[in-house]
Amino acid sequence: MARYKSPAVRSYLIRLFVLMSIYMVTLFAAVTLFKSHAVSGVPAYALAILPALPVIGVFWAVMRFLVEEPDEFMRMLLVRQCLVATGFCLAIMTVWEFLQNFDMVPLGNGGFGAAFFWFMGLGVGALYNKLTLGTTGGSCL
């Protein structure tokens, strides 16, 4: 059975590959430089933010995918997936925040921030689409 692949899917996958490559490079650079105490002051702030930029870029890529996808049913699946992901992420982060507020769990997130849970939520959204509509749409999200 042919897997659906519109030009929008291809554009999204290319953007994702480029952004994730930039993420790996910037993360490696930031970790290395911070470990060696090579930066401080304002440059340190800039360096700390640097790996966040390609992650924000992935959010942009997902939104561009929504805009560029020509198939209305596929668009609906993507919107549902993003809504589930947003709800999932907000729910996890809210619970976590209250657990921290009452000192039930330690502060910090061990590198698992909102973006991680939002991307995880996309998987939950795909599962929700599969269970309720019988298809994930062959989603690449």
């Binding site: 059975m1 659906y4 198939d71 209305e72 049913f73 019988g134 298809t135 749409g137």
Partner: protein, 64 residues
């Protein structure tokens, strides 16, 4: 909303992929419309009606 899409497609001996290609949509879209899981937009409903040379109400039947 119910549709006669599956019947009309079968009468022409088209697969879901054939119909999807003719409409410029995914096969999953055709399947979702046929099984009543998705109601097409008005522009897509018109494209389907044009393809089968039938009025929209001859293809889509509203639920009571």
């Amino acid at each position: 909303m119910k549709s006669r899409l599956k019947v009309l497609r079968a009468e022409r001996d088209w697969s879901q992929q054939d119909l999807a290609d003719a409409l410029g949509v995914s096969r999953q879209s055709v399947n979702a419309i046929e099984t009543g899981k998705y109601d097409p937009s008005l522009p897509l409903a018109f494209r389907i009606a044009d393809l089968f040379a039938l009025p929209i109400e001859a293809i889509f039947i509203k639920d009571n």
